[in-house]
Amino acid sequence: MLAASLFLFALTLGLKDNPLVPIGPGYYPRIVLGVTAVLAFALVITDVLHPQAAQAAEGLNYLLVVQTFVVFGLYVGALPFIGFRISTFLYVAATNALLDRPRGGKGWARVVLVAALTTVIVYYVFERYLTVLMPRGRWTNF
């Protein structure tokens, strides 16, 4: 955070002032980034002076969090290529299966049904009734 604010602060030094206004476009960003850098530095000092023991993360399922983020990232990445309908179906199915592992044919039927219903309802409500044009896929044109 400290490094990022200092980096951005350095970038503001290259901004040219506008003769029409008394302060240039870099004036306020320099204040904000300067304050952020000072506060970030204060945080570092506080952590050094009062080191806090790492909190025990026992029982927390970080793997599931990472998996959910990855699946969501893939969904967002896939949207422009395969379009809203296919990617949403796959995303809901994948996340539902991830959070509640399907067992047997009934379980998989539930996954497919939830994904299909979500996709169809969301698509029709937004695209047909609220005229929100959902993303089409570059590869699928669908």
Binding site: P25, Y28, P29, L39, A40, Y62, T95, L99, V114, F126
Partner: protein
């Protein structure tokens, strides 16, 4: 004022407004009752559905969600002992023990009536105070606005329990988001980092949606268990409404004082009902002749919590309508909805959009009887919905977040902002940074800059910030809130663990 309010109420009874208000209230009750789904998340889910509606239709729907959510949260608090939302935590302290003692209907309906009265008493203040406060704010120059926004940010940052520095860093980071892209006064490009779509700046709604939705869903997933809650939908909720009403109305002090606390907390920016219900409960206990009975199922505990969290809604609406400062995350989403429709919130909002403003008051007032009717008819149905597995709810909510972000500009850029904000928001929570100051920084950052530039364009003398009385007072209060916060942190540190305490100060 009364003429406009009357017209607003009559207008709101029109089907085209009543239907969104009704649907919003229903969704709010269900969302509020679902443990793990906050009102913020519910209103985020509803947001994209309002894009195609008229501004008042959309806002009526969101107000319905807000009021319904605050009331709906007490259902699971009383009957399951699991708060449906953070602002109903204190309701569990006495609501659940009362239900366990064999009086679930009494616990539930004391809470519902207290919510309704708290909310409607809050409506009186909402209608009476918003106009005069907006008039006061109209006298502000850019110096005063600048000072007001700084006060809002410093107050929120200072209210963070764990660390003042983290609160301040969080607020500063929110402001950093607003300096990316063209400067808001002259439109000169700055800090775009070579990213083309960043030239227009970072839109705050996808940031808000991403930060809140992911922070909450991912935090839930850390402890995820799809076992569901054991719900006994056959529980007997029969109760004499006259008797319950009497129980609420014969405790006017608790009702009024808790309503006042809720309003006050609501007016303060970005604090929210979670603080209001705990504070009101604590106050009710302190003023009680039998504080030892609190926690065993006394009506005062339920009344205090529920009256305060519904009054908190009115307080939040006052702040956003009079000053353009969101009282909490839900009103921040509403602010975004107004922006989408090209409506500027702030002191001019009421005078320039009187029909819309009084329509919002009317929606707030009418949402209460609608919620009451919904709960009369369908508490049992709400209990059934609570058992919907989160493995289904979470992906659906995230899909709606994507739709909401995408629909803002029909562009994938806002979806990328959503994803980035989600990761960032979850990271902030994990590292102990509070989200409220960050969001307030994102919302107010532009306004702080615009008013700073305007003031310096009017007069380059920086001393004016401290020589103009209102501006000086607001800046002094801002400094005072930080000093007070430092003092509180030091006191807490001394009390708790000595030199190796958790607080930063």
């Amino acid at each position: 004022m009364f003429e406009l309010l009357g017209a607003g109420l009559v207008g709101m009874l029109h089907v085209k407004y009543l239907v969104p208000l009704f649907i919003g209230s229903l969704i709010g009750v269900v969302g509020g009752a679902l443990p793990g789904i906050t009102i913020t998340m519910t209103v985020i889910v509803v947001l994209p559905f309002t894009f195609g509606l008229e501004p008042l239709q959309g806002l009526a729907c969101m107000i319905g969600v807000y009021v319904g959510g605050e009331t709906g949260g007490l259902i699971t608090s009383c009957l399951l002992g699991i708060p449906g939302k953070p602002s109903a935590v204190a309701t569990t302290f006495d609501g659940f023990p009362m239900a366990r003692k064999g009086e679930p209907g009494r616990a539930l309906w004391i809470g519902i009536w207290a919510s309704i009265f708290g909310g409607l008493l809050g409506a009186v203040v909402l209608v009476a105070a918003t106009g005069p406060l907006a008039d006061l704010a109209l006298r502000f120059g850019p110096w005063e606005y600048f000072a007001l926004f700084i006060l809002a940010l410093s107050m929120v940052a200072g209210l963070v329990e764990s660390s003042l520095v983290k609160g301040l860093v969080s607020g500063a980071l929110g402001c950093v988001i607003t300096i990316l892209g063209n400067d808001p006064v002259m439109g000169q490009p700055r800090l775009t980092l070579g990213i083309e779509w960043l030239e227009g700046g970072v839109p705050f709604l996808p940031v808000l949606i991403g930060v809140f939705a992911f922070a909450q869903i991912m935090s839930e997933l850390e402890r995820f268990s799809d076992q569901g809650h054991a719900v006994n939908v056959a529980v007997n909720l029969a109760v004499s409404q006259v008797k319950v009403l009497g129980e609420v109305l014969t405790r006017p002090f608790v009702l009024l004082w808790s309503t006042f606390i809720g309003l006050l907390i609501g007016v303060l920016p970005a604090i929210g009902g979670s603080a209001a219900n705990m504070l009101a409960y604590d106050q009710a206990k302190k003023f009680s002749r039998h504080p030892e009975k609190f926690g065993t199922g006394v009506p005062e505990g339920i009344i205090a919590s529920e009256a305060s969290n519904n009054a908190n809604v009115a307080g939040s609406l006052v702040t956003i309508m009079a000053f353009g400062i969101p009282g909490d995350a839900v009103t921040a989403v509403m602010l975004g909805a107004l922006t989408i429709h090209g409506i500027q919130s702030g002191p001019l909002f009421i005078s320039q959009n009187a029909t819309l403003a009084y329509g919002m008051f009317a929606a707030y007032i009418l949402a209460h009887p609608i919620v009451l009717i919904l709960l009369f008819l369908g508490v049992r149905w709400v209990l059934r919905i609570v058992i919907v597995p989160k493995s289904i709810l979470f992906p659906v909510v995230l899909v709606l977040c994507v739709v909401g972000a995408y629909a803002l500009g029909n562009s994938m850029a806002t979806v990328y902002v959503l994803l980035f904000s989600g990761v960032f928001g979850y990271g902030m929570v994990k590292f102990g940074f509070p989200l409220a100051p960050f969001i307030l920084g994102v919302i107010l950052g532009d306004q702080i800059e615009i008013n700073l530039v305007r003031s310096l364009m009017t007069d380059s003398n920086l001393w004016l910030f401290v020589t103009r009385p209102i501006s000086a007072l607001l800046l002094a209060l801002s400094l005072g809130s930080i000093v007070l916060s430092v003092w509180q942190h030091r006191r807490m540190q001394k009390k708790s663990a000595g030199p190796s305490g958790d607080a930063d100060f």
